[in-house]
């Protein structure tokens, strides 16, 4: 072993290792889920987005996910320490933790769903679910025979209130006698509570149930009760078609996730806010089932298409607030700022928003 061969060996090893570092960088994308993947609702669709990313990029991207994460910074910090380049935090409640962790890891990019706080390395994204709610309200108002529609709300945040208002406006448009009964479950995913809430609403006369919670428990409760209509939430919930599930809102995150991962790989990622609806394909309307009469189905599909093309906005005046004060004039549409902070019911909905 002379000095020359040792030096040669060391140089070769060094050269090979730098080459190895250069092309073995796999982009790591992390996902933080608020519920279990098997919920058949919100988290299920985010996971479908993740699987689409894996399929699209193959070996160039590695994904990790943690499900049923309570609010807090620990999981995000762990993912960032584990080498993630891009982390998707998929619930409103993760807003402050995301901002805090993002401040500690300026090189990691964060995407926060349904929030409103951004930073240089934090983007926000959401879908215009209220457009889907408009179609739901339009169908529900025509299907209901008792004129009572039950709504299972999760938390009284603007997103949920937008959904209630949009559904109510469009139900009332086709059925002036309709009444909304709203129950707050204070959870995004709790099948036991959701089943109880659905049963209670049905007992109080509702024959259509709309939900902003993620499990299929209300569908099961509606099925047990008989003639009650429901809509799939966040996922198609097609195993309950054609009754009680007559349609659904499907969250389609795959195109957005693929686009953002590509941006990280290309180095073109910037902090943005994305709020897409039916048009760009982020919100899908599930197949309207055979339990719905043909004319209702046709008008619902027409509404969906007009929302998609942008020719109709779900919040178009004249609309008053619950206390009677004017909000939108005839023909005026709501601007995004008011929608993002919506904390009032529209005229006609009884009851107060819990604080």
């Amino acid at each position: 072993m002379n000095l020359k061969s040792i030096l040669t060996g060391a140089t070769v090893a060094l050269g090979m290792s730098t080459a190895a570092i250069a092309d073995s960088h796999v982009t790591k994308v992390g996902f933080v889920y608020v519920g279990p993947v098997g919920d058949g609702g919100w988290t299920y669709e985010h996971n479908e987005g993740r699987l689409a990313v894996e399929e699209h990029f193959g070996d160039a991207v590695e994904t990790v996910f943690v499900e049923s994460v309570p609010e807090g910074e620990r999981v995000m910090t762990q993912m960032a320490l584990g080498g993630a380049d891009l982390i998707f935090t998929t619930s409103f409640g993760y807003m402050d933790p995301t901002i805090n962790v993002a401040a500690k890891f300026p090189d990691v990019k964060f995407e926060h769903a349904t929030g409103y706080k951004r930073a240089d390395n934090v983007s926000t994204y959401s879908a215009r679910f209220y457009e889907g709610r408009a179609v739901q309200g339009h169908i529900a108002g025509q299907l209901t025979e008792s004129n009572i529609i039950g709504y299972i709300g999760s938390f009284p945040i603007p997103e949920v209130i937008r959904g209630i208002n949009s559904a109510y406006l469009h139900a009332k448009e086709v059925n002036p006698d309709v009444e909304f009964k709203i129950v707050w479950a204070f959870t995004w995913f709790d099948p036991a509570k959701e089943a109880e809430a659905a049963s209670v609403l049905i007992e109080q006369g509702a024959d259509v149930i709309l939900q902003h919670t993620d499990s299929t428990a209300p569908q099961a409760a509606a099925q047990a009760a008989g003639n009650v209509y429901t809509f799939g939430q966040a996922s198609d919930m097609g195993e309950y078609a054609p009754m009680p599930r007559v349609s659904s809102i499907i969250d389609n995150w795959a195109p957005y996730y693929i686009a953002r991962t590509q941006a990280v790989i290309d180095g073109t990622w910037e902090s943005t806010d994305t709020w897409d609806g039916i048009g760009p394909g982020m919100v899908g309307i599930g197949e309207i089932s055979s339990a719905v009469p043909a004319d209702v189905k046709a008008s619902a599909e027409a509404l969906r298409d007009s929302l998609a093309s942008g020719e109709y906005h779900a919040f178009t005046g004249p609309i008053n607030k619950q206390d009677g004060s004017a909000w939108l004039a005839e023909g005026e549409t709501a601007d995004d700022g008011t929608l993002l902070g919506m904390n009032f019911y529209v005229e006609g909905i009884s009851g107060d928003i819990p604080q």
Binding site: G40, S68, K181, V183, P191, A192, V200, E203, Q204
Partner: protein, 304 residues
Amino acid sequence: MDFSSINPILLLASLMVASTPILLAAIGELVVERAGVLNLGVEGMMITGAVCGFVVAYHSGSPWLGFICAALGGAALSMLFAFLTQFLLSNQVATGLALTLFGLGLSALIGQGYNGIKAPNFPDWHIPLLGDIPVIGPIVFQHDPMVYVGLLIVGAVWAFLKYSRAGLILRAVGENHDAAHALGYNVIFIRFLAIGFGGACAGLGGAYISLVRVPQWTEGMTAGAGWIALAIVVFASWKPSRLLLGAYLFGGVTVLQLNLQAAGLAIPVEYLSMSPYLATIIVLVIMSAGRAPGSLGKIFHASR
């Protein structure tokens, strides 16, 4: 605020259904505590029963088989507790709490992959003549079988404790295990049986939630029902008759809250979740009679 939309008949009927899981768990725990053992692991046993029952019912297609296996699952977990506290003489409170945590974790492990799956149907029984009585019929006689099983168990336990010799022996063991041992009764064996019964009932209660109430499996789905069952046993002063009342009261609270919300009167959720425990404290303060079994929670070590 439209109270006319609350249908009292449906409210009372759903109250009976909502109370069944905690009733089952509580009556099992009552027997255990009457035998002198404080088993705080009810939550763990309930959720283990829930997952066992759900898995078996899903694979076999028969909810009854699911219930039986749920009882066996709950009993099996309670045997672990029994071994630790009766043979290894560990502290009952600590072991019970550990059992709860263990049961929650074990059930989550077993339940992996069963999220979101539909359970087989468990239809209501419409009892032929009695079910048609105008008001009482829908309230009492049109439920699924497990509601009646729960009531039967309560009645059987009451009769057992009050009128049978075996019940007397159980009570004796609970009141003063040293005296019972001196009389020649096998304290450990009797406690094992009681703990097993308690576990089986808790398992049934848990399976009721996952097979009938929801009916789905989710991690942590019992959501504190086991703790309410423990509170009911104390509220009932260890008497089966008052236990029935307590179960209906506490079970009815959640149902009432949702009904009031839907009718337009929104009581903050926090008050409703506090109320079972507040009621228990009030009962304990007011009714100083109804003492606990004399040997409750004490470790038994046969010295002679």
